[in-house]
Amino acid sequence: MIPSEDGEKARAMAAAVARRSYGKLIAVLCARTRHVAAAEDALSEAFAMALSEWPSGGCPANPEGWLVTVARRKLIDVSRRRQVAMSAAEQLKVLDEGLADIGSDGEIPDRRLALMFACAHPAIDESVRAPLILQTILGFDAATIASAFLSSPAAMGKRLGRAKEKIRRAGIPLREPDPEELRDRLDAVLDAIYAAFSEGWADPGATDFARRELAGEALYLGRLVTELLPEEPEALGLLALMLHAEARRHARRRDGEYVPLGEQDDGLWDAGMIEEAEALLLRASTLGSIGRFQLEGALQSAHVHRRRSGRVDWSVVVRLYDALLEISASPVVAINRALAVGERDGVSAGLAALESVAADDRLIQYQPYWAARADLLSRAGERAEARHAYEIAIGLERDPAVRRFLQRRRGALEG
């Protein structure tokens, strides 16, 4: 009989390897064939075998190497069974899969970045890039990803499957792009990571485990990219931005109720994360190329500054939004800029700035526009209009805590 202690140890070891190396093993197992789904199946069988063999036989000295060897054997088995349906060239690739890359010391090369670039390739539909990275690099299953991205497991599974099939059949290469296109392609990877983070961030009440975890996993991916590409300022900027936001997670809620940034208790902010974010932004600024994520990180930094000085320098904030607007003419940025103008020059200036973005049709269904409008109008004393704007903002909000917050604000207008 297997002593349960060894069983526990083996399970813990397998879990640790999965956490640390899942994407690394997948990347090595599909580098030649680009057959991500086959690599996933083979690796999952290898993990199952580890759980049955490690408790009695002991954990191998090189668990990653053990898993790759077993998974390779599975890949070859499958290809033998399907030989008829496979071209000779593809069979040769399978035989080579996972083999050529492993050093004589058993060291597995880190190809996760190449895999991420394939997942965020411009030929892959933008909305599936973040889910695909979460699945291939971190091993999330479709159901978990679906719950995080508010989609049905079946639909998410189908979209992930189609994307993997595209990587394989259309010949999307698993490699890092050439230096001249690295920046553009990296933006897509960073966007996907930020999309994952934002989905997790959208539910800071952390009622849903999958969504709370998502922010943490996105941070992990952000860190991974900065380790693999330490000289890319935007990668540093994204990590800083996410750390700044994450640092305030606990301050965003008081007894389950939403607390806006301006009213948060800065004693609840995570000082370590803020410090790390500030250092990252500083390092990014020495690399001589400004971008969206660095600017957004700097904005967070400007807000956090009130911890030391007791106040936010709104003229700095407005300048940062101006710079952001130049890079991306996003209505979201314009709304936040209008709010900052309202703080710097008074509410009527803020309302005037907001009017200039109101022409954008997309804003009609955009909660932050109505919340911003409601806030500025109520401070300007335009009660009736403010009430109307609050109504719409409340109707568009999906987070119940934020909805209650807006309802309280609206209620305060009655008095």
């Binding site: 593809e90 390739h121 059949r169 259309a170 010949g171 290469p173 792009p177």
Partner: protein, 115 residues
């Protein structure tokens, strides 16, 4: 891998172009074909006559039903193609981007079925 690069452009627009522009276009396509050949990437290529000269055929009740015109009645029509050999999609996209068709129309990159 083999990829088919399909050129979709406005049908009939060519005829309306001034002669000098047409000559420029022909020279650009010739140079592109030459570059593909030099790189050893070209398998096949052709320019198609206008979609107004197309005919569709399908079986209805076991008999071919023939209709005048192209299958899809869109502003942009398939106007020509290049069949190329490329190591991966990025290389195929790079060739599609160099094709003059990406300037006056839209290029579609399709991998061929591998048996």
């Amino acid at each position: 891998m083999q990829y088919l690069l399909l050129i979709y452009s406005q049908d009939g627009a060519w005829d309306g172009l001034p002669k000098a522009v047409q000559e420029e276009g022909i020279a650009a396509y010739a140079a592109y074909g030459e570059a593909l050949k030099k790189a050893g990437a070209l398998r096949e290529s052709a320019r198609l006559r206008p979609a107004t000269e197309a005919t569709t055929v399908r079986l209805v009740n076991g008999k071919p039903k023939v209709l005048d015109g192209p299958y899809a009645d869109t502003k942009e029509q398939l106007g020509g193609f290049y069949l190329i050999e490329a190591p991966d999609l990025d290389a195929a996209i790079a060739w599609a981007g160099r094709c003059p068709g990406s300037g006056h129309g839209i290029m579609e990159v399709r991998p061929l079925w591998v048996y």
